[in-house]
Symmetry: D2
Amino acid sequence: MQTRIEVGILGATGMVGQHFIKFLQGHPLFDLTWLGASDRSAGKQYKDAMTWHLAGGTPETVANRTVDECKPGNAPRLLFSAMDAGVATEIERAFAEAGHIVVSNSRNHRMEADVPLLVPEVNPDHLRLVPGQRLSRGWKGGIVTNPNCSTIGLVMALGPLKQFGITKVLVTTMQAISGAGYPGVPSMDIMGNVVPFIGGEEEKMEMETHKILGEFAGDHIEPLAAKVSAHCNRVPVVDGHTETVSVEFATKPSKHDVLHALESFHALPQQRNLPSAPKHPVIYMHEANRPQPRKDAERERGMAAFVGRLRPCHVLDFKFVVLSHNTIRGAAGAAVLNAELMQSEGMLD
Amino acid sequence: MQTRIEVGILGATGMVGQHFIKFLQGHPLFDLTWLGASDRSAGKQYKDAMTWHLAGGTPETVANRTVDECKPGNAPRLLFSAMDAGVATEIERAFAEAGHIVVSNSRNHRMEADVPLLVPEVNPDHLRLVPGQRLSRGWKGGIVTNPNCSTIGLVMALGPLKQFGITKVLVTTMQAISGAGYPGVPSMDIMGNVVPFIGGEEEKMEMETHKILGEFAGDHIEPLAAKVSAHCNRVPVVDGHTETVSVEFATKPSKHDVLHALESFHALPQQRNLPSAPKHPVIYMHEANRPQPRKDAERERGMAAFVGRLRPCHVLDFKFVVLSHNTIRGAAGAAVLNAELMQSEGMLD
Amino acid sequence: MQTRIEVGILGATGMVGQHFIKFLQGHPLFDLTWLGASDRSAGKQYKDAMTWHLAGGTPETVANRTVDECKPGNAPRLLFSAMDAGVATEIERAFAEAGHIVVSNSRNHRMEADVPLLVPEVNPDHLRLVPGQRLSRGWKGGIVTNPNCSTIGLVMALGPLKQFGITKVLVTTMQAISGAGYPGVPSMDIMGNVVPFIGGEEEKMEMETHKILGEFAGDHIEPLAAKVSAHCNRVPVVDGHTETVSVEFATKPSKHDVLHALESFHALPQQRNLPSAPKHPVIYMHEANRPQPRKDAERERGMAAFVGRLRPCHVLDFKFVVLSHNTIRGAAGAAVLNAELMQSEGMLD
Amino acid sequence: MQTRIEVGILGATGMVGQHFIKFLQGHPLFDLTWLGASDRSAGKQYKDAMTWHLAGGTPETVANRTVDECKPGNAPRLLFSAMDAGVATEIERAFAEAGHIVVSNSRNHRMEADVPLLVPEVNPDHLRLVPGQRLSRGWKGGIVTNPNCSTIGLVMALGPLKQFGITKVLVTTMQAISGAGYPGVPSMDIMGNVVPFIGGEEEKMEMETHKILGEFAGDHIEPLAAKVSAHCNRVPVVDGHTETVSVEFATKPSKHDVLHALESFHALPQQRNLPSAPKHPVIYMHEANRPQPRKDAERERGMAAFVGRLRPCHVLDFKFVVLSHNTIRGAAGAAVLNAELMQSEGMLD
């Protein structure tokens, strides 16, 4: 029988921290034994340190746990980071230096050359950056990151299509409000409305897509040589980012080729049967009007990318719709799957 | 002082019909004196023949007017058609044959070679199709149409950019529920959701854009030689279609050139000061997160196209956001402005 | 080990029918083996006979099952009815006459004197009407009903308070759109809006509350001698009816008495550990701003009533808020729990 | 020709301040010449001192006006106060002491014995408190207030019914998000949800109703001797508070009496033809499912109360629905009408 691994959360009181707690309930491998938060919360019981924002209420397993400061010391070796970008840089580094494996959802280290921006189905080999990261920084631990919630659906759909030589990608997002955390988007701004701008989001999507689909090159990732352009919008949806995508390929595959690549996609997490891996990373929906966020995002425990409406594009080669759950596959679930991949690689031993 | 012109509405009881009635209230040129609807409604007072769906309530000027059948006879010469596509073809033709000028919002005749698909700011010269239409069909009247509600915003933004040689257009729409009429979209389908499909909409946007931006060629319009690709989505917004647009130009204008073309756009309806013409057909909004449907669509009486976020596109040349009011500039207001243009051309004399 | 019982659904293709199918997945006692629907659907595979409207997609266990006509013959003895009110009266009677136990969510037979309007936690003894129903109607089977989706939350909260002598009840509902089925409420009517009227709903709530809280009197139920007044509204919520309630009691209990009665409520379904019974039928939430439909309705598998904000009322004695899941505890789950109670009484043997 | 009166706004940059600015555009009597705000804004041009949140954009008449500090000095004599409750007490007093007439929408002074809580159609005689207020406080100016946005619809509907001897009132509100200002309610809290609690709102509604419907008694208002109980809820609506109301009367009027009182209500502001007075303060809607906030709140420029569904109540005597526009008649418009009443009384001379 497998040894269970103790884990902790950096930034446990925020909304992403709550998603980590919820996602880790009943995890077959990880035991959540430590909650870190700001000085303001430290010393309090978890239930008194935050207001729970997710459906279902505060899990009993954490309600009475005492929150600790975000300083190395009592925390377990494996930590999930849900920290705000404003403070994540220094704290994550301090933990990594002190020997912790920081599997982070924060954006701060994603684009650093020696930090994997990891999607286990798409670029598991990017984990090979970690030894160099440790060596050059003198760290006993390390930092591994997952992409932004708007990037994940796109790259999960593009992953199986990389074989066709992706040359151009044009994507428009319709993003859920939960992506902005809490209090996040004021209702006066988004009720019955579309906000055609999310600060920094387009740049993140473009850069992260290049890196994730890029090639491991020893001490860095050689970015994908494709042109990527994003339009990012906020829409009145609670959970689930919907994206319309047009793609151009070098090898001019047929529609059948593209569809088959999507539907047959089966990657390392599936082969290793990682606990949080969806059975199929990409689920192609054949109905004319799917996927839809309110009806589909929570399927497969929110861990798959749902694709539909594959058809020729008059400007590029093909176009389709992709949906992914922004707070699960786009945040907490992504990081947990990253840790599961690392465990399967023996990197947590 | 100008002689007032009597007008009627074909399909006056439906939701588009109601928008015509509302838009024509207090019109300086047109007097609404006739309401046509299905046999089921004919003979009833208007207020008993329908349920009013628009904010504000049934205007008193029509509430007690008796609804007539949609047969030539008592109707005034100028008619606005708000008919369902299922019946519009035959009825509109019958009226045109009988000498009526049918200014139609219905999709049925839009793509016929000798029917103008008219946007007064963009292709006023397409009205030159009308004499040939009359001649070849043996009609005393005629049919003129306006584009689909998703096409109008796009072509109003592209109109002033045509000078730069448009070669490729990739557009994603986020369309309001009012575009589907009443009862239209079930709330169970759209509340907190995105529906990434609207039947026939993408084809309409692509074909209509080609025709509207095309060139008058005697007995038909030579379509614009550009590649156009549309992704159409329904979002939980009441009024106002928002669209993200990427465009490629043959002449590679600078961002300044494009911005200047949009902001200085001033066309025939503005020059002739047509009553329903917006002061500026395109209003460029410099705020980072505009335009937005709930906050901007009703400005300028819903008759302008609102553009924002002009920036370079990594895949095509430039990208931007455009918003237009789908039931005003995308339906009733469009047709009324078409009629005003025809009046200014002496075509209603 | 317990023998499993075969069950069928009358009206399996509608939205309530879909809820029955979803709720019965994995049921420990009931095997869904038969699907009945209108002639139009009969003979088709289930997946071709309807459009699935619920999150998660059509369960595989029913997708390929052939739909049968709603006529006695092949159906199992125990049937759940999700029929439209327009056809339920005759069909349910025909099945009851033919020996079937019809556990119905339809409104048609609810107010008949010899038909139990059953809430297992509140009036399980009303099942004693069934023998007389069979006798007087000459039926081998029988009909048992559950209340309207707006009534259930109210009576589950009032059940434990009946001991204090309820004399007046004033309730305002804020009801979810799913209560109106599919296509149900047009989005143009409810998006960003409140509709302060639901046809027949106030009368149903008032009458049903009287009957459910009434006393078994041999061949009928003696209604509760209290004054009940309802204001029913539709609000833009997907699932979960929220209700504000003011109550007057004959015995003038203290706030502590009322709170204790709610929190300690433990009834027959809990004592018998019926599979679909919530652990606590009423869950009192102590947070200042709860219960809330989007965050709480799905707790306890949607089978509990959630109460909060108990406080004195200046007009009656106490006021509070109650929330229940309208399509689970207010429809499919209610009927299944009714059948479980009947099974535990030996009425299905 | 009437002399125009200069007016200013205390708290001009907030959302209520923006509503004052919008409402005062084109006012026939008042010229907006002064904008006061916090020190942080003082000295800036208005357009740089705030983000405009209302549909339509910042009016040009104020965009370039320099914002002043909220200290007596340069401000005109008549001031509308849109100040936050946190700072309004001291600042409003300072201006009143310095000789300004402060017509305030803030809650701070509403319940003070010598301050009118004024609804011109309902209690215009409460203005008689002002002389005593000046005398006892040694003020040259004075403070007059309007009720909370949830109170206004209720008291406008109850005003014409006071003649029947109101003894009990039970009200449930469904309040729009705009009532909470900006950023106000987080979208994560209210999208597809109901929040059955608004801090302090129920107490305000109950107390204010007592005072507004009370009798002038020399140096104070003798509150209405009725029992009033409120349930306050937030719903996903942008503008317009909907309320379900049950009322008991001492004199047991017939339904016809009550309906006639509502429909024939014509009060001082109507008689004097005050510029912002609605033609009818109460508009009774005979449709079965009205009033509705999205469709009706903006009628009559948002200044009327819309009542519908009058019917007997089994618990009290009658029940009905009332709707009013919370940011117009419930805030800016209310204060402006109060000032117009004072002007018509010669109190601004």
